[in-house]
Structures are given as C-alpha cells and as structure tokens.
Amino acid sequence: MTIQESKVELIEEFEMFDDWMDRYNYIIEMGKDIEPLADDLKIKKYLISGCQSQLWLIAELVDGKILFKADSDAIITKGIAQLLLRVVNNRTPQEIIDEDFSFIDMIGLKEHLSPTRSNGLTSMIKQIKLYALVFKAKAQQQL
C-alpha cells in the first residue's frame, strides 16, 4: 500500500463513524492494541515531553525504510500516535519528508495536534520528520 493509499483508507474508515463517540472508541481500542514499549525503552532519549501526556518514539532504518514504534501514558495519545504510524511506518525517508500530515484534519482530530494542547503529538510529527531527515542524510553520506 502506498502512503497515499493508506491515508485514503484511514480517512474512509473514519467517515464510517456516525459520531464522536465511535471515533474515540476506535482510537481508544487502537491505543489498547498497540504493543507497549519495554520499560527500558521508555527513557529520556526517546521521550517527547508534553505538559499533559508523555510520548515515546523510537525509529530504525531497515532496508531503506523507517520503522517506528511509539507508546504513551495516555491512551488517546497512544491511539492517535498509532494512527500516524499506520501511515508513516515502513516508508522511505523521502516519503515522510514530503508528507504534510493534513490527513489528521480530515479525520477530525485536529484539536489533538494544536501546539497548545501539549500532549506531545505535534512534537511527535516534528520528531518523525527529523528522523526522516537524519536517515536521509546518513544514507547520502554512505553513497
């Protein structure tokens, strides 16, 4: 599935929900499904600190594609992080650099990404992009 296809799939999934409660139940379920990070990975190095909730993000480059893992102490933050990762996981650095993340608006979760919300999600997007830039730079150095 291309990055575009996975965005469309996500948007269509959310269009099926009649009300906010279904939407949030889905996010909460997604948050519950996510495999928790081992405690020894929940360290400062991976922490994206928000004033409201904490979020950990880990990335590695495997065969030219980035694999992300995330976890949070708040389940809604964790669920939304999982949504983001569904789109950006297993993509090349360039694909992530080119992504504008406007699909978040389209699934009605914009309020969770306002810079004043301080749940770490806005910083998570920045961090995802930063990882992509670093992996791209590293790959170019090796060429």
Partner: protein, 406 residues
Amino acid sequence: MSIDIDKIRADFPILSTKVRTKKLVYFDNGATSQKPQMVIDSMTNYYQQQNSNVHRGVHYLSQIATDAMESARENIRKYLNAASVEEVIFTKGTTESINLVANSFSKVFITEGDNIIVSEMEHHANIVPWQMMCKEKKVELKVARVNDDGSLDIDYLKSLFTDRTKLISLAHISNVMGVINPVKEIISYAHSNGAKVMLDGAQATPHSVIDMQDLDVDFFAFSAHKMYGPTGVGILYGKKKLLEQMPPYQFGGEMIDKVSFEETTFNVLPFKFEAGTPMIAEIIGLSSAIDYMQEIGIQNIADYEHELLEYATSKLEKIDGLRIIGDTKNKASVVSFVVKGVHHYDIGSLLDQFGIAVRTGNHCAQPLMKSMGISGTVRASFAFYNTKEEIDVFMEALNKALNMLT
C-alpha cells in the same frame, strides 16, 4: 439571602455557548472565570466615553479618565479593607505582583545567609521568582511540606523558621486542591518570629471575603481575571511602611518625580511601582467585577459554591478507583481527582467532547504533583454561576468517559 441563579446566568453571555452541539458546562473557573455583562460594559463605556491617558493631563478627558481610575483604586481599597490607597498597586496580575516583591523586597530586606519559606503546594508563580532571587542573593529557600490530605504540615512549617527567616510566601488557597490554608495562624506565627508574609490570593479572592487589616498580612497578590474581571490586571497590596522602603521594580513614565541625566527621583506611592501607562480599562473592569460580586454578596457566593463543592464531592466519592487530591474539611470550590489506571488527559479529552471544560495536568504545580506521587489530576472548579444540574451532566459524562477508557 440565597442566589438567583437564572438571573446570574443571564448576566454571563458566554454561558449560552454551544460546544459543537452540546451546551457548555464551564468548570475551569480556577484557570479563569467568565465575565458578566456589567464588566464588559464598564470597559466598553470607558473606551466609548472616557478614554484618555491618566495623570497630569490638563484636559477634560484626561481628568475624567484619571478620576475613573483613581475611584476604582479607592473601590478596591475598600474591598480589601486596606488602610490606604497608597497600599493598592496595579500590576498585570498575581505573577507580576509576586515578582515585584521578590525583586524589590529582597533588595532592602534580604542579605546573604538569610532564608525564606515557600510550600510544596505553591503554583510555579510563587516558587520560581523566589528561587531566582535566592540564587542571586545566596539565600536559602526552605520548603514547607504538605500532608497526604493536602493540608500544610503546620508543625513542620513552624520548625523551618530561624532568626534569619525574612519572609514566607504562601498560597491562601491551593489552586490544585482548593485547600484553604490557616493563614491567620501562620501570619501571626511568622510575625512573632520577625518574618514578613506574602499571600498568593489568586484563588482566594473569587471565593472568600478578605480583609487586609484583619489578616495583618504584609503583601497580598491577586488577579482580576479569576474573579470575573478582565485579564491583564492584578493587584499587589503591601503595607505602606514596607512599600515605602522598597525600591521601584520597573522604570519609566508615571513612576518618576524629577528626571535629569545626572539623577532621577521617584514618585510617591502607589505610583512609584506603576511605571508606564496603566491598564486603565482593565482597572475599571476589575472595580466593576468587585461591584458585581458585592451586589450578590461575597458570603452568599461562598456559601452557594460550598454547596456545589459538597454535592460534587459526594458524587465523585462514589466512583470506584477515584481519589480526590486535597481531602480536607476547609476547601474552596475546587475538586481535583485521579482515577486508578486512567490518564487525566484521556478523561479531559472525552469530557471536552461532552461540552465540559475542566483542567487537566499538573496545574503549574509540579512539586506538589511529585510530593503526591502523581503526574497530574483532573480539576473541576466551580463558580457561583454553575449549578447542580451541570454537576449531574458532568457526572454522567465522566461515567461514560470512564466506561470508554477502562
């Protein structure tokens, strides 16, 4: 006299706001209160009919604006029962009031080797200015402990005083828990040990009758916006004999007497501490907010809010796994809680979907969170325009949210 809730609610236009499709339930009064039409009108009227720069203007409008501002100061003095208008300083809020004292009081009254006291339950605004001052002056910052129920450990607090203790700065009412501190007892103990007392009154003025002379407090800070007035203005009350000895905090117009490039002399109190053009419209708005509260009766407000607090507390206590943070008898209408296994951000996000505004997080009181062993709370804070019906809506939403989350 009881409260005419329908009439009161009609005075606050914002209360009829719809949040998406739901009726707004505003329980974030501890962060800021809503404003009655009377306050909004007083500020509009100022700009429509009185606006001019104050003091020293010879023209008609400047006189009117100066009179309006200075009669507001007198109104605030009466409300505080301060001995003199010279003791009522306009600042931009509680934070600036505390910074002013930390800066100017320390310049004359604190020297290396002294100590000052704050408590674990303080808002960051009543910690950081003192911490910075202490670093600069090489002064020890002592910290009073909080008991498990959220009350101050008074015996421990008393044990912190030494003959070098120059000041204690405390919250009158905790912004996180609503716990009312025994400030009169502390003030009299501090004075008997030769220390001055500053109170952070930001959470006290919306809920209680306060009297500077009765409290015998040395400094008292509060913000208009938490007591139905506008943002951008607050008060520093200070005893005249202390303020007179303290140097100015900021420099500029209004606060000077004579200026030459060789030397500048400063204006008298209260103007010495009010550099630059003041927030005239906001000052008038604050005075109008005080009039509004007094019309209803501050004791009536306190009594009604106490009813709301007891109603909410009794309902919250029935929820499994819910723990109220700050469980003392003597509380203002603030209730903070945590629920076992559920994050405060999740609860707050879902309550928002139900149209309910609460505050979640550490409430700018990270040291208190640490001492309580929690990362944050959900805080509902009630004002006299809230109702038991709103608390019912809140409880139903909270139960639904917890069902979704567990």
